[in-house]
């Protein structure tokens, strides 16, 4: 696993830059990661990110868009507005979680 330093944090990432160690994430790092993909975090973004973090801790897996919209009550349309173009990937990236597994 490559190791990289972002904003003074030393973190483990996969070859696409998704963090691989749950505990290396914090909110300050999230803001920096969001900045890298052109997203400025508002309360609505945080609501989604906190759901992702909690759900991953319980289920051991990055939630799908449908799961975020059904379980956190954030409409899919809003997720596309918050994290444009590829919301599932972008949310996982900022929340410090593995890339969502495309179902087979």
């Amino acid at each position: 696993m490559p190791v990289t330093t972002i904003d003074g944090h030393t973190i483990h990432v996969d070859d696409e830059g998704f963090m691989t160690d749950y505990d290396e994430w914090d909110e300050q790092l999230a803001s920096t990661l969001a900045g890298q993909i052109g997203v400025e975090l508002t309360d609505e973004h945080w609501k989604a990110l906190h759901f992702l973090r909690t759900d991953f801790r319980e289920k051991g897996e990055t939630p799908t868009l449908r799961r975020v919209s059904v379980s956190a009550g954030i409409p899919t349309k809003t997720l596309f507005a918050l994290f444009p173009a590829k919301p599932a990937k972008k949310m996982a990236y900022v929340a410090g979680l593995p890339k969502p597994r495309g179902c087979v």
């Binding site: 799908t64 449908r66 899919t76 596309f80 444009p84 590829k86 597994r101 495309g102 179902c103 087979v104």
Partner: protein, 414 residues
């Protein structure tokens, strides 16, 4: 007397009942299978109906005729499972108590989940082929279709038989070509996936096959709604795809009673341990086949391989011993590619589909990820095997766990 109740007499439920009936003592165990009707469909055959290559009536047989003597078949709609009290309630009020429960109620297409899909245009310009009615209606529509834009679309993943939309596209291309109509029809393949398929080696191979056939790929397309007036698919990121004829795979969801019983995830699939298929919430509940939330394909082959593994585990479990078998997610799918050829893919939780030979390393006779006539014959032969060997629970010569022998590992991405 102990009671095993199985909900659903489809591929997984029928196989499990028949295999367990042979192993569980009739003086100690009653096995009850519940389904809403007595019509077992060979679902893989739906694919051929729209092209007039399969008679719809030929895909339907009586469910109870495929259940072994000594298995009780109850016709009824499951209303709710009361897992805390270990009982099942059917619509109408009948109750079935159980010691062990197997949920094998599959998954089904839900056109009503997408705004605009099921309105006035449903089965006029919008069709599905994941139901026998849908496939039969589509046959009529295709017969009258001689020019315009044909869009083959997947609403969201997971769906059962994830390669079916690709197969439909390849078959439609060949069918139009044979009728001299291909130049008058524009074809688009729209998918929420980032490419033609999920895994890299297969996705690139199958993506090339779309290119060769001049079928345009519209990837990362997650539909928000359909405008039936202007005949347009609209995605969440506001892309639009116009169609004259839309062949869609609606959202697939597990049975509603699973949700009502508090046993499901957001798509009504039962969360299970992916190696033992036991419910994460209840020790005496298992989910088999499409009903479970396994991270592998929803396919008859997965139902088959997982039941093979489940049966010996279940016998250990009810004898109070630890379960020693572990399911690896093995899936094996034929992909019809038109003009009497097909590909075959073989994979599991950890290893993506790779080229090579199957089931005998280097000899085959089937070829993985390659279009051959032999694979097509294999796909056709499967219908016979399904009714005569698979459902009755007779052994068939396929390995349950996936094998790496004869596969070309160098193709896999580092």
């Amino acid at each position: 007397m102990r009671d095993l109740v199985i909900l659903g007499a489809g591929t997984a439920g029928t196989m499990a009942a028949n295999k367990l009936r042979r192993k569980l003592d009739r003086n100690d165990w009653r096995i009850t299978v519940v389904d809403r009707d007595d019509e077992h469909h060979y679902q893989p055959g739906y694919l051929f109906v729209p092209f007039g290559r399969q008679d719809p009536a030929g895909l339907v047989r009586s469910r109870h005729a495929f259940l072994a003597d000594g298995v009780r078949f109850v016709t009824g709609e499951v209303d709710e499972v009361q897992a805390e009290d270990s009982k099942v309630r059917l619509v109408g009020g009948q109750e079935l108590g159980y010691d062990y429960l197997v949920i094998a109620s599959g998954t089904s297409p839900r056109p009503s989940e997408t705004p605009g899909m099921e309105g006035a245009a449903w089965r006029r310009s919008i069709f599905d082929f994941f139901t026998l009615d849908g496939a039969t209606a589509l046959r009529e529509a295709l017969n009258g279709f001689d020019h315009g834009r044909l869009v083959v679309h997947t609403t969201d993943i997971p769906i059962k038989c994830p390669v079916a939309p690709l197969e439909f596209s390849f078959l439609a291309d060949a069918w139009l070509r044979d009728r001299g109509l291909r130049d008058r029809v524009e074809m688009v393949f729209a998918t929420p996936l980032p490419g033609a398929f999920t895994k890299p080696v297969a996705s690139s191979r199958l993506g090339n096959m779309l290119d060769e056939r001049k079928i345009a790929l519209e990837a990362d397309f997650l539909v928000e709604r359909i405008d039936p007036e202007t005949r347009t698919l609209v995605s969440y990121d506001e892309r639009e795809i116009a169609f004259d004829l839309l062949v869609t795979v609606p959202l697939n969801m597990g049975a509603d009673f699973v949700a009502r019983s508090g046993l499901g995830d957001e798509l009504n699939y039962v969360p299970v341990d992916k190696h033992t298929l036991r419910s994460k919430a209840h020790d005496n509940v298992f989910a088999l086949g499409d009903a479970a939330d396994l991270p592998t394909s929803k396919a008859g082959s997965v139902a088959h391989f997982s039941v093979e593994m489940f049966v010996p585990n279940f016998l250990e479990h009810v004898a109070g011993r630890p379960m020693t078998r572990s399911f690896d997610g093995h899936a094996n799918c034929f992909i019809e590619s038109g003009h009497d050829k097909a590909l075959l893919i073989d994979f599991n939780y950890d290893v993506e589909p790779l080229p090579g030979r199957f089931p005998v390393p280097r000899l085959g006779p089937l070829s993985l990820l390659e279009e051959t006539r032999m694979n097509h014959l294999g796909k056709l032969a499967f219908q016979w095997i399904y009714w005569n060997a698979l459902l009755p629970g007779r052994p068939i010569p396929l390995p349950t766990a996936m094998s790496m022998a004869g596969k070309h590992l160098e193709m896999q991405e580092a």
